[in-house]
């Protein structure tokens, strides 16, 4: 009896081990982490945009960045009846969203040689936004240059 029970246990153990062999856990493989530094590409494209900014309004212009790199925005001139060339406007960079441009970076600035705004961006669609921050008494004609990689 004792011999039979021992034998049965042995056979059971062997056969179960065969059936459960695929569930044997393995030790994790050691991994090596390599850090890669990506260099920001310089602007390769430049677009000029001339438009009219209404009092209390905003206008935006979209562009596509094809590789990680630097975007420069220059508000080069502002003019119009009752609009001094030194007027301060809102200038921002963001992403097109619904019927507007949601700026992630924005400043208030006068026009000039620029760039007044610069940053590095991953590939994607972006927009530059010009807005009246409360300084306009008449519609303003503006010119802007956006340079992107």
């Amino acid at each position: 009896m004792k011999y039979s029970a021992s034998f049965c246990t042995l056979v059971l153990t062997l056969l179960t081990a065969i059936g459960c062999s695929k569930n044997t856990p393995t030790s994790p493989t050691a991994t090596t982490t390599t850090t890669t530094t990506t260099t920001a590409a310089v602007p390769a494209y430049s677009e000029d945009w001339t438009d009219t900014l209404p009092v209390g309004g905003a206008r935006f212009y979209s562009f596509t960045v094809t590789q990680y790199g630097t975007v420069n925005v220059s508000l080069t001139s502002v003019s119009g009846q009752y609009v001094p060339s030194t007027v301060t406007l809102g200038l921002g960079i963001g992403t097109p969203d619904a019927e507007t441009c949601t700026a992630t970076t924005s400043i208030s600035t006068q026009s000039g040689a620029g760039p007044q705004l610069t940053g590095t961006y991953e590939p994607g669609v972006y927009c530059v936004r010009v807005s009246d921050v409360g300084n306009l008494f008449g519609a303003a004609q503006f010119s802007l240059t956006v340079a992107y990689p």
Binding site: S4, F7, C8, V11, L12, L14, L15, T16, I18, G19, C20, K22, N23, E47, W49, D51, R59, F60, Y61, S62, F63, T64, T95, P96, D97, A98, E99, G124, V125, C127
Partner: protein
């Protein structure tokens, strides 16, 4: 002896063939489609567009569901397009000239990124009209 081995084998098979060893398919996460409603007034000979971002690749449908003049449906045709925001507008790559219906006029596959739907009056509406567009994307 032989009988003993057979009985042991039955018991081992029953335990060895347990459901825990059965391979299972990987779980797939399905993102519920996102509806966008784009409504407004379209002046004659003008365009309007609406930008949205896809965080998952998939099929985008655009439906010009309604064009109304003083609350009454109008049968005028407009140009409905899907594309990418560019410059001061939406550079469309898929276009349909259509009146309002209840079945999407555009159905396209896109990867992740920012896109736009555009509505344009190219034929010349007799007056400003109210439009409603529904875009469904992943």
């Amino acid at each position: 002896m032989k009988s003993l081995v057979m009985i042991c084998a039955i018991a081992a098979l029953a335990s060895g063939c347990s459901k825990s060893a059965t391979p299972t398919s990987p779980t797939t996460t399905v993102t519920a489609p996102t509806p966008i409603l784009f409504s407004g007034t379209l002046q004659p000979r003008t365009s309007r567009f609406y930008s949205y971002t896809l965080t998952s690749a998939g099929t985008v449908t655009a439906l010009l569901a309604s064009l109304e003049r003083n609350g009454v449906p109008a049968g005028n045709s407009l140009e409905l397009g899907i594309g990418v925001p560019a410059g001061t507008g939406c550079a469309v790559t898929a276009v349909a000239n259509t009146s309002a219906t209840l079945q999407p006029q555009l159905r396209e596959d896109y990867s992740t990124g920012t896109y736009c739907v555009r509505i344009s009056d190219v034929d010349g509406l007799p007056q400003a009209m109210t439009f409603t567009i529904r875009v469904i994307h992943p």
